[in-house]
C-alpha cells in the first residue's frame, strides 16, 4: 500500500518561495459550459445572459456572508457587466464550488469550512436566484466535511468532499443525494491499492461506465494560513497524489494511479470519438492525460509542463474547449491565463498566455469558446494580500489569437467578497409549466 503522497522537494521549496512573495496555493473548480456533467442536457449554446458567482464572504465587507452573485453578461443588455443582485446565505463558510442539477433548475453550492449545502432555484427567474433549501446532514450521514464538487447524475447529485469531521485531514469520500436533497449513500475514497483516501474533483464518462476522481488535501491544511502551512513540513506531506478510476455503475474503485502534486480539475474530452481526460497537478505544474491502455484498462501519462514548475505557478483551474482541441489553464501565482493546443493530447503545447489579474483562479468559457470569464479567489487564507488581493469577475473576448477585456466587476468595491466559482445562466432556461 502506498503511503500518503509526499511533495517533491522542489515543490516544497517552491511553496516556500511563494510564501515569501505573498501567496500561493492549489485548488479550484469546475465551471463553464464545456465542463458540466454529461447528464446536464440543457447547455447554453448561444449567448449566455448571466454569470453566477459563488462568492466568499469577507468580514467587514457588506454583510460579510457567502453569497451567490448574479452578473449580467449579455452585451446587448443595458446592464451588461453589472451586478444584478446577490443572495446571501447568512454565514461565512468558505464558499467554494457549485453545480447544476441534471435538469438545470437548481444550483447546489457549498463551503469548505462546513458540511452545509445550499440549493438555489435558478429556473423560476434565472435573473434572481432564490435560496430554497439547506442540506445540513452531510457530516452526520457520511462523516465527510467540506463538500466541494457537485456532479449531476440522473435525478441525483454526487457530492465530493475534501475532508472529514474526525481529524479534518484529507481522507474523505463522496455523498449521493437525490434531487430533493435526501441522502442516499456514501462512498469512501480508496485507501488500499495505492489510494491515499483523498478527494477533490470527479468526472464521468458514461460511454465507458467510468468515474474518475482526483485528490487535494483536508480542512486542516486548506483552512490554515498559507504562511504557516508551508513552514510545516509534516503538513506539506499531506496533499493528494492519486487519481482513481471507478466502475461507475457499481460505484467501486477499480484502480488507483500515482499522480503527484495534487491533481485537481478533471476534464473529459467532449468529442464523442474521444475517451480521454486531462487534469492539472497544482503543485508540480503538470498536465496529465488519462486514457485507455488498449487492454480494457486505463493509464495515466504526464504530457506537459505549465510554466516553470520551480516558480510554482500553481495551475488552479482548467477549461476544455467543446471540441477537445484546446485547454485554458489559470495559474494563480503569476496571474496568467494560458491556452494549450490539445490537438495531440499526448503532447499539449502552450500557444498563448496573458496576465489577466494579480491573482487568478477560476476560468470558464462559453460553449462557442468566444467568451472567457475569470475570477480571482482561491481560498480566504491563501489569497494574496495588500494590493495584490484583487477580487473580480472579468470578461474577455477570444478570437483565437488574443484575449480582449470586455468588462470588469470589482467585487471589493461592490462589497461582495472574494469571487470564486462561476456558472452560466440564461433567460431561456426559465421554467414553465407543462401542458394545461
Amino acid at each position: 500500500m502506498m503511503t500518503r503522497a509526499r511533495l517533491p522537494g522542489i515543490v516544497a521549496l517552491g511553496a516556500m518561495v511563494t510564501l515569501l512573495t505573498g501567496l500561493a496555493d492549489p485548488l479550484m473548480a469546475r465551471a463553464d459550459e464545456t465542463c458540466n456533467s454529461p447528464y446536464i442536457s440543457k447547455l447554453i449554446t448561444g449567448q449566455e445572459n448571466y454569470v453566477y458567482v459563488w462568492t466568499l464572504g469577507v468580514e467587514g465587507l457588506g454583510d460579510g456572508s457567502d453569497k451567490l452573485v448574479t452578473v449580467d453578461v449579455n452585451p446587448k443588455s443595458k446592464r451588461y457587466g453589472k451586478v444584478l443582485g446577490s443572495v446571501s446565505v447568512g454565514t461565512r463558510g468558505e464558499a467554494h464550488h457549485m453545480g447544476f442539477t441534471d435538469d438545470r433548475r437548481f444550483i447546489w453550492a457549498g463551503g469548505l469550512a462546513e458540511p452545509t449545502i445550499y440549493v438555489f432555484d435558478i429556473a423560476t427567474d434565472p435573473a434572481k436566484p432564490k435560496l430554497v433549501r439547506t442540506i445540513t446532514d452531510m457530516a452526520e450521514r457520511t462523516g465527510y466535511l467540506g463538500p466541494h464538487t457537485y456532479y449531476a447524475m440522473p435525478g441525483r447529485m454526487l457530492v465530493q468532499a475534501l475532508s472529514n469531521t474526525k481529524d479534518k485531514g484529507g481522507v474523505t469520500g463522496m455523498g449521493l443525494y437525490n434531487n430533493k436533497g435526501e441522502f442516499i449513500a456514501s462512498y469512501p475514497m480508496p485507501t488500499d491499492g495505492g489510494g491515499d483516501g483523498y478527494g477533490y474533483d470527479l468526472a464521468v464518462n458514461p460511454k465507458k461506465n467510468v468515474l474518475l476522481t482526483s485528490s487535494f488535501t483536508g480542512y486542516a491544511n486548506y483552512m490554515r494560513p498559507l504562511g504557516e502551512l508551508v513552514k510545516d513540513a509534516e503538513a506539506m506531506k499531506k496533499f493528494g497524489g492519486t487519481m482513481a478510476i471507478w466502475d461507475l455503475k457499481a460505484m467501486k474503485p477499480k484502480r488507483v494511479f500515482a499522480v503527484p502534486g495534487a491533481p485537481l480539475e478533471i476534464r473529459w474530452s467532449l468529442d464523442p470519438k474521444d475517451n480521454w481526460a486531462v487534469t492539472a497537478a497544482a503543485l508540480t505544474s503538470k498536465i496529465w492525460l488519462v486514457k485507455p491502455d488498449g487492454k480494457d484498462g486505463w493509464q495515466v501519462k504526464d504530457v506537459a509542463t505549465i510554466g516553470d514548475p520551480a516558480k510554482i505557478p500553481l495551475p488552479v483551474d482548467i477549461s476544455i474547449t467543446r471540441d477537445g482541441k484546446g485547454l485554458w489553464v489559470n495559474t494563480f501565482m503569476d496571474g496568467k491565463t494560458r491556452y494549450f493546443d490539445l490537438s495531440n493530447p499526448e503532447a499539449p503545447v502552450q500557444t498563448y498566455e496573458k496576465v489577466t489579474g494579480k491573482q487568478v483562479n477560476m476560468i470558464s468559457q462559453s460553449w462557442d469558446g468566444r467568451r472567457v470569464y475569470v475570477t480571482s479567489s482561491l481560498l480566504a487564507n491563501w489569497d494574496k494580500g495588500g494590493d495584490d488581493n484583487e477580487q473580480f469577475l472579468r470578461g474577455f473576448a477570444w478570437d483565437g489569437r488574443e484575449l480582449t477585456p470586455t468588462f470588469d466587476v470589482d467585487f471589493t468595491k461592490e462589497k461582495l467578497g472574494r469571487a470564486h466559482h462561476m456558472k452560466l445562466g440564461s433567460k431561456s432556461l426559465r421554467a414553465s409549466p407543462p401542458a394545461r
Binding site: 454529461p38 447528464y39 442536457s41 440543457k42 441534471d102 435538469d103 438545470r104 433548475r105 447524475m153 440522473p154 435525478g155 441525483r156 449521493l176 437525490n178 434531487n179 430533493k180 435526501e182 442516499i184 449513500a185 458514461p206 460511454k207 465507458k208 461506465n209 467510468v210 466502475d247 455503475k249 457499481a250 460505484m251 467501486k252 480494457d296 421554467a431 414553465s432 409549466p433 407543462p434 401542458a435 394545461r436
Partner: protein, 222 residues
C-alpha cells in the same frame, strides 16, 4: 435468482438487428463497455415513486401505484409528438427491445412490467396513447406494457414533480410557424416491487443491456 444468459443473448441479437417499427428511430448503438454482472452491485433506494390518478387507453381512471407495485416496473415519460431522437423515440426503442427480450424469458416475463406515461395531457388523450401503442396493446405474449396519460396538467404535475421529471414549453419557429414543443430531459425510472425508484436512466446511458442487468439485480435481491 440465476442470471438468464438466454435473455442476454436475445438482447444482444435485438441490439444488432433492429426490425422495422412504427416509431422510426435510429438503432441503439452497441454498449461500449462490459457492465458489471447482475447482482454484483447495489441499486440504491433513490426515492419513493409518487402516486396519483392516471388514465388507461380505455379511459378508465386508475391509481398510478397500481402500475408501480408488485412487479418490477420500467417507467418512462413521453409525449406522442416528440421527435427528439435522443428523447421519447429512444425510450420507446429501448422499451420495445426489452419487451421482446422479456417476452422470451419466462423467468423475467412474469415479474416485470413496462409503463409509458404521457406528460402532454392536452394532446395525448387515451385515444392518442392507443394509437401510439399500436400493436403493442394487442401483444399478449408476455410482459405487460401499459400506455397511460392524465386528465389534466393539475393531475400530471404531482407525478412529474414527484419523479423529478422536468418538462417545459418551448416554441419552435424554425419552419416559420410557431410550434409548441415540450422540452424535457429524458429520464426512465426503474422501480422495485415496493414502489421505490432504484435507478434513473438518461439518454447518456439508457441501454437495454444495462436495464436488463439492473432488472436481474433487483430480482436477485428479492
Amino acid at each position: 435468482m440465476r442470471r438468464a444468459p438466454y435473455a442476454a443473448a436475445l438482447l444482444l441479437a435485438a441490439v444488432v438487428h433492429v426490425p422495422a417499427s412504427a416509431h422510426t428511430v435510429d438503432p441503439v448503438p452497441p454498449l461500449d463497455f462490459e457492465p458489471p454482472p447482475a447482482g454484483s452491485y447495489v441499486l440504491n433506494r433513490i426515492m419513493q415513486a409518487p402516486d396519483g390518478e392516471v388514465l388507461g387507453v380505455d379511459g378508465r381512471v386508475r391509481r398510478l401505484s397500481a402500475f408501480t407495485r408488485e412487479r418490477i416496473t420500467l417507467l418512462g415519460f413521453i409525449y406522442t409528438t416528440c421527435v427528439d431522437p435522443e428523447g421519447c423515440p429512444l425510450a420507446y426503442r429501448v422499451f420495445e427491445m426489452l419487451s421482446d427480450t422479456l417476452a422470451e424469458t419466462p423467468a423475467l416475463r412474469d415479474r416485470v412490467r413496462l409503463v409509458t406515461l404521457s406528460f402532454d395531457p392536452a394532446r395525448d388523450p387515451p385515444s392518442a396513447m392507443r394509437r401510439y401503442a399500436g400493436s403493442r396493446l394487442r401483444d399478449d405474449r408476455g410482459v405487460p406494457w401499459y400506455f397511460l396519460t392524465t386528465r389534466s396538467a393539475r393531475e400530471l404535475l404531482p407525478l412529474v414533480d414527484g419523479f423529478g421529471q422536468d418538462v417545459r414549453y418551448t416554441i419552435d419557429r424554425s419552419n416559420g410557424r410557431a410550434r409548441r414543443e415540450l422540452s424535457h430531459v429524458l429520464k426512465v425510472f426503474l422501480i422495485d416491487r415496493r414502489g421505490v425508484v432504484r435507478e434513473i436512466y438518461s439518454s447518456a446511458f439508457l441501454h437495454p443491456r444495462t436495464v436488463l442487468n439492473d432488472i436481474e439485480t433487483l430480482l436477485i435481491e428479492d
